[in-house]
Amino acid sequence: MALLEAHRLHKRFGDRVVLETIDLAFEEGRLSGIIGPNGAGKTTCFHVLTGRYRPDGGRIMLDGRDITGLTPRAIARMGISRSFQLMNLFDDFSALENVALAVPERRRQGFHMLRDARQDSSVADKAAAVLARVGLAGKERELARNLSYGDRRALEICMALAAEPRILFLDEPTSGLGTEATARLADLVRRLKQEVTLVIIEHNMRFLFDLADTVAVIQWGQVIARGTPETLRADKWVKASNFGMLA
């Protein structure tokens, strides 16, 4: 059984059907990719899986447990963490404070009103360690707003990672990155792949096909193909939609 499964997932906004009975399965310890053109429904699919949108139909199962329609908070507490395509950071906080908020220990202390958060070395150490993992060591005290675009992308991922998730969703992590930064991100994702189950939405086919174990292709709100990168390169639907050429 897959760690996370979506059965006949359906989502519409008014008259517009964005997800049309989608079935997806994400195996534990693997990197699964979702590709598709703009407007195919990829990000909506992420939003539904992580609780931002409630599906109009279908079920989402995490490790056999039905999590359909749960709030983002409840889903996050069950071990699903995500990054955002449009960066969603706490700009007035330092990089360390951004990550510290995501550390589960800090979340458990969230209602402590008279404890000094600045002197909590345990949370700070954990946050610093995660920052180092994504290559942001030495930038702990920098305000998030002052970080470079690439570092902000890394911080986005870092926050999702600091939550110690069972499954980590990355929404277009290479968006806006140059060649060098994308290569560094690929190295990071390769390392993360050893530690956590990953699901990545991407436009950058080369990036995704180099890293993913399996890929689902979404077009017109439907999964039109799925399989390993090798099988997809030969798939007639993928070829017809130009993904094969890019890959």
């Binding site: 996050a76 007035d92 906080f93 979340r107 969230g110 000094d116 958060a117 909590d120």
Partner: protein, 346 residues
Amino acid sequence: MRTAPGVIARLRGWITEPMLVAFAVFGSVPFWINQVGLYPYLGVEVLVFCIFALGFNVLFGHTGLPSFGHGAFFGIGAYAMGLTQFHLAPNLWLGLLAATLVAAAFGAAVACFISHRRGIYFALMTIAFSQLFFFIASKWTSVTGGEDGLINIRRLPADFGIVSFPLRTNPALYWFAFACFAVIVVLLWRLANSPFGRVLQAIKQNEERVAFLGYNVWLYKWLSFVLSCAVTGFAGGIFAMGQGGAFVQVMSLQWSGVVVLMVLIGGGLVSFWGPVIGTVIYFIARDLLGAYTETWLLWFGLMFMLMVMFKPEGAAGLWTELRRRTRAVRARIPAAGFRTGGPVGT
């Protein structure tokens, strides 16, 4: 065994240098306020409104939730102080406890209806509830005294069992208000820098992301509202003693607006000290500018408009900017790209 540096470090987590400066300034007021042509009761008013503004800023500056109806909770605290004196027991501590808890209870009820909102919808709901409380207070004459208010609220002594301090004179009430102010400042500073305070500041910046990190945003907003109302009610309790009564006017939209002005002018959105600075500016404007012209509020309003247009971070933001520029000049580094502004816990 704790070492001296360890103790100092722990103490610095509670008491900071700006706090000592603020305490020194407010602590010196009784020694010079008459000499400069002002009067001790003005000091009481300033301190009471500092507490009010600090409480309001838990919601506004820390959590980013704009309330335009906080005067209602200030008034509720004042009425609770009076009603406790008249109908329960004439005890200062009981009165202040009632002012705090009753305002918190009303705040808790209101927050149940609005904690899922933010921005303009949140603000409008606070106005609606404050108007509701205002009209109840003005019409429920048998309890609140209606338009005449609750009069003859006494300044009860601060009784500590073995020693009791009478608060009948304005200087005595000032020292009492000063002690309350000091305690509130230390506690709210600690709150701002606690894990809870950090979550509130995160909600202000990006509510959605906080939810995706697994926090119960609704509950944090609810608690922020309740705490804010509790401190506001406490301030209302002292105000009732200062005024010798509880009056419905303080629950009006105008008074709710005044505290927003104070906090914004002072820079409550970017600094813990913004509400204190703003309150002092407001009362200086009222009493000094007011001595020269009856239209002082017009000039104060103009100052507010200029501040919003050119320095929305308020006086505290202006101070931070000046310090940043001074440091930049000293260090001979370009000012651009360097920013010290941060959350209100700074």
